[in-house]
Subunit: 452 residues, 2 copies
């Protein structure tokens, strides 16, 4: 059977255009964003604040007319910072601005003191001998590249998860990293720390970029050793309850398009760009499509995933809970890169369905969105369903300034630009409408672990 050439009808093309017009004037996304960041504020995965965020999400989705609104719970381990401080003890006594990395071990009460050994990069630490660092504090001073597509982050996060492990292997008592961030403010960037090998990891914190500069200068100017004291206190629990908030715009068929953002944030800021913006953009876009006359062809499912920052627990739980209906999932996508404009549209469709990307690309062209590749990531929280074969797309956002704010106290509402937020809503509304209405699906991806 020959496939129909992928295309929208004239009426559909006009509707997509009208959705873009509406998105560019949208006020709902801002209201959602302001409401979540003000009325809930910081909402660490697994915390009472995240539970309040779920209640907020349920109330918001119901008020907006979404159907089947529910919380899908799961259990997860809990980690939270209690206190954190650092100071140069000698030869230049002064405080340093630090923040504990996610899942860091605590130091002994009263802190741990050691001579600082600096490595310009993680690679240099990994190449260092495995002895000779007993009692030392390892400092990985690797900077991060500013990039539009966020690729500098992929390189920088390696030190965030590995410095503590490599330091521990070598007998060090703690590890410090230069923040994985591109700004020069004294707000250190937190973020997930440990990945595996947790046994050998030592307490781990990030210095703000100016403090990393300062420590590097102190090492240069000191005539002898530079000694630092680090005090990190944390609390943990083996298991707490968290959950995903789900709401739907029911379609004419049982096929599902799943989109959303993550509801949790790091504790330091109010998570305006990471990821209340994603929640706001996808919810507002779905609402615009839902407000069209008649039901969409496919069900539009908005998910506010929980506990992404601390281990993608919500995304994994979603995939697990929906395994049995995974074949109904036609497409998945997450908005989780702030509120910078969408500038590229990436897909991960099966090879034979790849031409359908052109339909989206054509509709998005007026928003200055350029065609991308077929290697879309899709978002951390759709990783679970992607691994089960569900195609994904990425509406790639301009992240040039994203890592100035990401995972810092400075991730607050004032950093979001309304015009840019609206461009996102417009792009997502058009995308979502087309994904819902287009004839035929987007194929299936190889199931992870399967022979290909």
């Amino acid at each position: 059977q020959e496939k129909a050439p992928p295309a929208l009808s004239d009426a559909q093309a006009k509707t997509a255009d009208r959705l873009i017009d509406a998105g560019l004037e949208d006020d709902l996304a801002w209201d959602i964003l302001e409401s979540l960041t003000t009325e809930v504020g910081p909402r660490l995965g697994g915390s009472p604040a995240e539970a309040r965020a779920r209640d907020w999400g349920v109330a918001k989705l119901k008020a907006l007319g979404f159907k089947n609104v529910r919380i899908e719970t799961y259990e997860m381990p809990y980690w939270a910072r209690v206190s954190e401080s650092a100071e140069i003890i000698s030869p230049f006594p002064q405080p340093l601005a630090v923040t504990a990395l996610g899942r860091s071990k605590a130091t002994p009460e009263g802190g741990v003191t050691g001579e600082v050994v600096r490595f310009p990069t993680l690679l240099a630490l990994q190449a260092a001998p495995e002895t000779g660092f007993e009692g030392k504090i390892v400092f990985v001073d690797e900077p991060m590249a500013r990039t539009q597509d966020g690729s500098g982050y992929g390189t920088a996060v390696a030190k965030r998860s590995q410095a503590a492990v490599e330091a521990g292997k070598r007998g060090a008592v703690a590890s410090l990293i230069r923040s994985a961030g591109t700004d020069s403010h004294r707000n250190p960037h937190t973020g997930g720390g440990l990945r595996g090998e947790g046994e050998t990891a030592v307490p781990a914190a990030a210095l703000s970029n100016p403090d990393a500069d300062q420590l590097a200068r102190a090492l240069e100017r000191a005539k002898g050793p530079v000694t630092v004291k680090l005090n990190l206190q944390v609390e943990t629990a083996e298991s707490v309850t968290s959950g995903n908030v789900v709401g739907e715009i029911p379609g004419q068929t049982d096929e599902i398009i799943v989109i959303g953002g993550h509801l949790d944030s790091w504790d330091l800021g109010t998570g305006a760009i990471d990821d209340a913006s994603g929640i706001a953009i996808t919810t507002a876009a779905a609402k615009l499509v839902g407000d069209l006359k008649g039901k969409p062809k496919r069900t539009l499912r908005v998910v506010m995933w929980g506990a992404e920052e601390v281990g993608i627990y919500g995304g994994k739980a979603y995939a697990d809970a929906h395994k049995d209906e995974i074949d109904k999932h036609v497409l998945a996508a997450e908005s989780d890169f702030g509120a910078g404009v969408v500038y590229r549209f990436d897909t991960r469709f099966s090879e034979e369905e790849r031409p359908k990307a052109k339909v989206f690309e054509g509709a998005l062209r007026r928003l200055a969105v350029t065609p991308g590749n077929n290697m879309a990531f899709g978002g951390a929280d759709v990783g679970g369903v992607r691994d089960l074969g569900v195609p994904v797309v990425s509406l790639r956002q301009d992240g040039t300034d994203y890592f100035d704010l990401h995972h810092t106290p400075d991730d607050t509402l004032d950093k979001v630009d309304l015009t840019e937020l609206r461009q996102n809503v417009a792009a997502w509304a058009a995308f979502l409408y087309i994904a819902s209405e287009l004839d035929g699906d987007f194929g299936r991806l190889p199931v992870k672990g399967d022979a290909q």
Copy 2:
């Protein structure tokens, strides 16, 4: 006797020009700036850190060849922050970023909780009735204008010193202000609080601008009262020893030109722009003039004033200690507005000596410095000698961005631009040389308190 028209000789004009050339390539100011901010770091007036800064200053001036290097001590009351925190208790529980204002009283241990009453301006608070605020927390949400000349600051600081007094008069338990700052980062701006009337003042803190936004939004979105808890703990001492660091380039006469910056900083940052830059600029400029062949006509005295931030104790002590030689003080000036370029030259000469301003203006023209007025402030630390009749000048710096950083943790070395710093050194060197060599003096100002 007819005055000679004020002018430089050709040789002097050439020397001034060569000093500007040298200033524009100067490396000394940066080295001083880096050394002070790295090796001492934060240096609160009256603290052990400020004592280390004095030792640093003495060593630095001696190493640079200054003569009569000494510390002139004085006694002062001491205030320091111990801890500070704030949080919205209800209806939207979350932390707020605050910092105690200088000389704030402590709250009771465990903090003080109250319903927030917002005033858009200090004027609105001052116009409010004197009862009805018992147990409340007063929030003065007045914003600050961004200006090149810093005039927005003069308006904004009124709330910093008066909010706590006005709140206390009305029975409130604490006061919060929107930071006197122009940035949007979660680093609140500290600064001198109380001015007089301390008896009625309540504990006083500044919210960062994003946190002031947040509190204002919470008040708008709450259906009922918004309750905040503020916990400020401070330590004080009736009297500690501080001091001014003084060094000289001896002249051919016993006339003195006194210049400098303040050595102390607030505790939150390393005081790179406020005021290590002033220390660096004036010391480097004096060194350039001192390196000329032969002695300057007048003695160039560099003073690193102590404890400016917490009450201008060093500036007052200097005037007091040097009363007896005040007539030898021909001119005074301080650099205390960061490291932005000098764009205007203001004087405060006697009316008959005002034409001498033209000599400076002519020399500075190539640095894009525009002639100013004869109402120069001179700097907080020369206020004492100005009030005793000593003429002053102000090398006015571009402060458009100064209050993004001023009195915050973000006042660090990375914020200083080397090219701009060098332009300052060039301007100060030319100014200082001319002030030293020009025939005749700059008159005397009315002594404060005298009949005019």
